[in-house]
Symmetry: C2
Subunit: 324 residues, 2 copies
């Protein structure tokens, strides 16, 4: 069996309390005892049981992440940075990929609560008021979850403007937008708002092709190119869609950027690596990740009051490739 504090105590010839003290470096301890205990721990290869500890302390140092999917590098990178930031602060991460079963998001929340997580960071969609009711520290990324849940995001409106204005500068006459549906209360909708505002300012018609959550992007892109033969500029709401637009355009002999200019969104380092030609709006993923973890941990530790500030917005950056 795994050694426990009692075993260490017996071997060191002290009481369990004393062992616990050296473990947590609390109270007065003679050097002698310290050494004896340390030796016994090493000898037994003792590893403390955090379950038992957490049961008593009422703190697990566990954070739950609820995100659509690590398979998408945007979330993958976000999660990578958040996990690092959490680890640095002494927190571990319980991972939930919600996208394969969006309706199970509530199950995930309950599971996290059963596991006594100290807080949750969510970038998923449907997480309603339910989770908040449990009065657990929560931070959202790019999603409005409720009145009192702070949201960390990039400056989506600014990003939408940058992308749209770039296409105008580049003399595009017919600029279209591709985005998800408006259903979810996401700050990402502001990308579309910005696009529409910019179009209006330039007296151009705004038209957005929507891709439903479970929709077939391929098909919608095809349809767009069929229906809009005079399109010469496309602002896609993420890099994956932008890349597909370019692939489909090439297939049809439409030259990018000569005949069609395309701007994406996200600018993950993976896509930058693999597709450096793509013009895109880069989100400061590591800043967002760092901030979200910082907020959550401060909320958990009672330093940050979630009522004090609701939104944390980070600037984006336009990265010009050769697709515009």
């Amino acid at each position: 069996m795994k050694p426990k504090i009692k075993d260490v105590a017996k071997l060191a010839g002290v009481s369990p309390t004393t062992v616990s003290r050296v473990l947590n470096n609390r109270g007065y301890l003679s050097v002698d005892v310290r050494e004896k205990v340390a030796k016994a721990m090493k000898e037994l290869n003792y590893i403390p049981n955090d379950l038992a500890r957490s049961l008593y302390t009422q703190r697990t140092n566990l954070i739950g992440f609820i995100f659509p999917t690590t398979a998408n590098p945007f979330y993958g990178e976000l999660i990578f940075h958040m996990e690092n930031a959490s680890f640095e602060r002494g927190y571990r991460v319980l991972l939930c990929n919600s996208s394969s079963q969006p309706e199970k998001e509530e199950q995930y929340v309950e599971m996290l609560l059963r596991n006594q997580v100290d807080g949750i960071i969510s970038g998923a969609h449907n997480l309603g008021i339910k989770a908040y009711q449990h009065s657990l520290p929560i931070v959202a990324i790019d999603r409005y979850l409720s009145e009192t849940i702070p949201v960390v995001s990039s400056d989506n409106y600014q990003g939408g403007r940058l992308a749209s204005e770039l296409l105008i500068e580049k003399k595009c006459k017919r600029i279209l937008h591709i985005n998800g549906t408006r259903e979810m209360a996401s700050p990402a909708n502001k990308r579309r708002d910005a696009y529409e505002d910019v179009m209006k300012e330039h007296k151009m018609e705004a038209l957005t092709y929507e891709i439903p959550v479970m929709g077939n992007a391929e098909e919608i892109i095809s349809r767009l190119l069929d229906e809009q033969p005079d399109v010469d500029g496309i602002f896609a709401s993420d890099d994956k869609i932008a890349a597909r637009v370019i692939a489909e355009a090439r297939k049809r002999g439409i030259k990018v950027p000569e005949n069609l200019k395309v701007v994406g969104y996200d600018g993950t380092s993976f896509v930058r690596d693999i597709f450096p030609d793509l013009t895109t709006i880069q989100q400061p993923i590591s800043d967002i990740a760092e901030k979200a973890v910082e907020l959550l941990v401060e909320e958990i530790e009672g330093i940050f009051d979630p009522g004090s500030q609701k939104e944390f917005v980070f600037p984006v950056q336009l990265l010009e490739g050769t697709s515009t």
Copy 2:
């Protein structure tokens, strides 16, 4: 405070034991009591504390994942599928991204042990015998960790052959390979072995450019193209490198595939989406994920004996794009 079993019991007018029974559906229970308890739980919004339960049962239903980084879609997709498979089997996932601090991998293992995980799935590099010593169920993906730890992987040798032979079929005369260094005991080395075997069989010179773990791929690719003006075929050990080769070649005015043919490796769905033109060897990621979880869970539950079979290899598939 959070309601506990005692509170539920009081409200339902029964003993805590009875509540525990309906919770676990154990022993004999009258319908009447069942309903009363259920009602009380709902009323109090009771959520069981898995910590306490685990402390007693000595099982957490927690699995630790140790992988380089979710930022790489190959791992991102693998982890996505593994998390789903785990969830379906009633297990939750503690996530560790080891790549930012490779030397901390042992810390991660210890952390997982403190958290009393039931098992570990690892695709990281340095995890030595140490972890095995703790006699915890472990499954490795694409890494040899120790004699008794089962390895799940795709058929790397076959993949290496497919890639190399394709380039030969396509009449390439000077075929190079790009891969990581040989240091780690990884089945991925077999991709290189296969390349070398195929070259030998065709009496061609084999030459591999190595990219160290922390190395600059960009630079090495540049050097390769500088030093090897007559190269007309490259087999890259992953899609990211393949894509970079293509980007660099284009920059130099080398036409792909006319003057240079490139084959990648991995074939993640993300890269397929964003770069469908790339010829690649696709790993059956979801099969690997599913198998790894299945093995681990069976080992945890005492069904699978890790001594019985050591390797689980899944076939790969050649996907031809226009880069060859």
